[in-house]
Amino acid sequence: MKRPGRRRADIDEEIRSHLRLAIADRIARGESPDEAERHARIELGNELLVRERTRDVWPGAGVQRWLQDLRYAVRQIRRQPGVSAVAVLTLALGLGSVTAAAAVINSVLVEPLRFREPDRLFSVVNRPPPGTEHRYWLTNGRHVHEWRTHCRSCEDIAMAENVAFNLSQAGGAERFEGLRVSFTFFRTLGVQPALGRDFRPEEELPADSRVLILSDATWRGYFAADPGVIGRTLRVNGEPYVVIGVMPSDLRLPLGDQWGPRFGSVATQPAMFRPLGQDFSQARPAGNNNYASVVRLRPGVTAAQAEAELNALIAEFVRQFDIQPRPMLLPLHDTVVRDARAGLLLLGAIALTTLLIVCVNVGHLMLIRTASRDREVGIRMALGSSRGQLFGLVLTEALVLVAIGAVASLGVAYAGLEAFRLWAPPELPRVADLHAGPRVWMITLASAAAATVVCGLLPAWRMARTDPQDALKAATRTQSSARRTVRIRELMVGVEVALSTVLLVVGGLLTLSLVRVLAVPMGVDVAHVITQDVSTSIAGYDGASRIRFAEQALERLAGIPGVAAAGVTNQVPLRGETWICQLRDGAMPDGPAAALANFRFVSGGYFDATGIPITRGRTFRAADRGQPVALISERTAQALWPGQDAVGRRVGGCGDSSLEVLGVVGDARADLEKDAPVVVYEPYWTMPISRPHFVVRTRVEPERVAADVRAALHDLNPEFPIGQAATLADIVDRAVTGRRVQMRVVLGFAALALVLASLGIYGVVSFAVATRVPEIGIRLALGARRSALGLMVVRQGLLPVAFGLAAGLVVGVAAGRAASSQLFGVAPGDPWILAGVSLLLFIVGAAACWLPARRAMRVNPLRALRAE
């Protein structure tokens, strides 16, 4: 097997020897040496062609030729470092964004959860009664107990509830967010403690439930990863708890809403776990839908079968208590990611669109280059290159650019992932597990391949279509060929503008959505309210003492200078819905439930403190103690007694009580993006709240009063850990973080696209002006006004922009419709957005045309005509 280089040399030598023999023969026949050589060469034909075709017979010839193209492409790129650098940079940005987006989508949406056989894990949730607007509810503890005792389709079933752990240590009290779980919790998920042991069945009952399992982060952060922590006794909530285990570091549990709606705060993994400490065989099977349940089905059992069985098992409760739970099974993976899916897919689509724009832009740059290589093309074709080979040559050049860009994009992708980790909104699931696996690299490779095709297609096509005669003939390009080039370039600019428009429209819609979200009537005074929560669930403090604590705290808070009003509640506005029971008309206690209501336990001053107006009647007074009273929100009044006066009527409480309505207050939102819920306010002295939130309205900036508030509460009882203070403005801000991040990312890409598009416009208009210099000279010589010429340039430069804009608006509206789940309060076809984007593009387009237009206006007619 000869080396390719060796073979090439042999073939060359062979052909030369043929020529030699032919010449010798002719000389022998009597021709002169010169004549003989000339005739022999003519007879031989195209020597290069013969060599090529002979070489092609052997394998590896194609590769050899391709390597030649490759070397040529690299040389071409080095010849124009500036343009090539821009192309490579934009390709790196485009490919990097796609890679980062793919990694995020893969890690968050595609990869299965990290539990044993995760496809057998399901959340059990309740379908809410018809007529309510919530998606689904958590489950009742008694029901779960019933299921775990009798369910045959279930291999294991577990439940969990959010709970706070007040850890008393030498330095003071510290609060941790954690879970109280059934003893089957970790078993169901399929994880085991890394140290120590799991819970035992008997530990679920109150008597033996004072045991703790720590998370890995807590163990490392607060106990210095000391293995001796196992068996240690800690003082939690005022009582001794024994640490029995530590979970492994790679445990990733669903957070917050991913368990089910309103499941405590989002943000961090649970810090520690304790058993339920309750005997659920005695629990009330109605109301108290506070437990997130997870079930692991037996192999081979379908979700439908299990669902049917679960429903059947609680049929007796439904009949007996007239409740309406409809348990359904949702794959646990789906529960965790479903809310994030639409937003992430949108980001992926944006990244792909940006890559497309980048490729069109690079293709445009390459087209400019190929247009000036007509002579070279003519020579190549004369020497025997086929059109296919020319096509391949340009594609190879595109490949080199894309390859370099792809290497650089790794850095961009890495940076993008780091940025995402830092700035991802807290409600985004599984961010801690962000990684780029083989699947992601496949996508990068596929994107690079597609990018090569898109970048190289138009320039390659144009190069292959060159007529070699024309190409070799004129020293300058002909008018018609130049005009054809302008047309193609205008087409590319149109495409770039269209794609930029799409991104701008989507970005505009998201921006307007954010504005609308922030403008919703929240029902509270966001500007001057600060909230502060305190944990009072410490042993040794019974219900009465907690209520007394709240009373005394309210007095102290009211006395702080700068405080206009103070109140207490079990949950502040805008922090989500909680304490949900059925709403009944108090006069008909056995009647059907009108809706599900949020119950709040508040002081009389709460409404003043939050700025919720009292529209009818009055608020609680000290004299109301001992009376069954309540206040209701407007929506509640509408639901129970539409059009009538609610004051004086009776409303059902969370238990079986019947409460007199003292007054009606304004609606306050629990979620920014949902309508205000139905709320019933009971007095705080009827229900000891384990975590009261104190609400303070200030006359000055809320932040200035925060320290005093904290101090007042701490002084009252230093054993109660005090949480983070938050103004209502902070809470709103946190609620829109996700939206804001998304909007910024989309707008960032849109800005990049706009810059690329404007560069494209500038380029093509400059080129058009340059080719029309003689024509402009003639016009000027014939008396045209310079300003009219300038306008003509701008007008013609804006024509592809106009077409691109029109196409882009149509696609943009369609894109908005596809992404409508991400929008709020704005229609995909919002005319303000469309008008704004159009105006922006016209301004940018006109600005890009301005410099070339000025050049056109400055043309010296004499010089222009002379050059022609």
């Binding site: 052909i15 195209n46 013969v50």
Partner: protein, 117 residues
């Protein structure tokens, strides 16, 4: 590819192979010599272009039907000389019989007195 150089007679590849192999039955030859033999053997009717001959020769070499080696000519010049292999002989025989059959079949058509049924 550029404009294909046309032969006086458009030869099918198999036919060209047969002709080239035939020229080698009378002893090893270099490429130029093969073109001369074909010319004189067909009384100047057939002139094989180098652009067709050398690819054909190398193709035959690749298929193992001919063997090639460099030889020094009388004037101490290197030439590449081709020789028939046993496999080449067999191919030649096969192609020849195919060509003969084809030739006879077409001939029969051309000599037909009336339109064939």
């Amino acid at each position: 590819m550029g404009a294909r150089a046309a032969n006086r007679l458009d030869l099918l590849q198999g036919t060209l192979d047969m002709i080239v192999l035939q020229t080698l039955t009378w002893g090893p030859q270099h490429g130029y010599g093969i073109t001369q033999i074909i010319r004189s053997g067909t009384r100047d009717v057939l002139r094989v272009e180098t652009g067709s001959l050398y690819p054909a020769l190398h193709r035959l070499e690749r298929q193992g039907l001919v063997k090639a080696e460099w030889k020094l000519s009388e004037h101490n010049q290197r030439t590449r000389v081709y020789r028939l292999t046993p496999a080449g002989r067999k191919r030649l025989a096969d192609e020849h019989s195919r060509w003969t059959r084809l030739h006879a079949a077409i001939d029969g058509l051309m000599r037909a007195k009336g339109a064939p049924a």
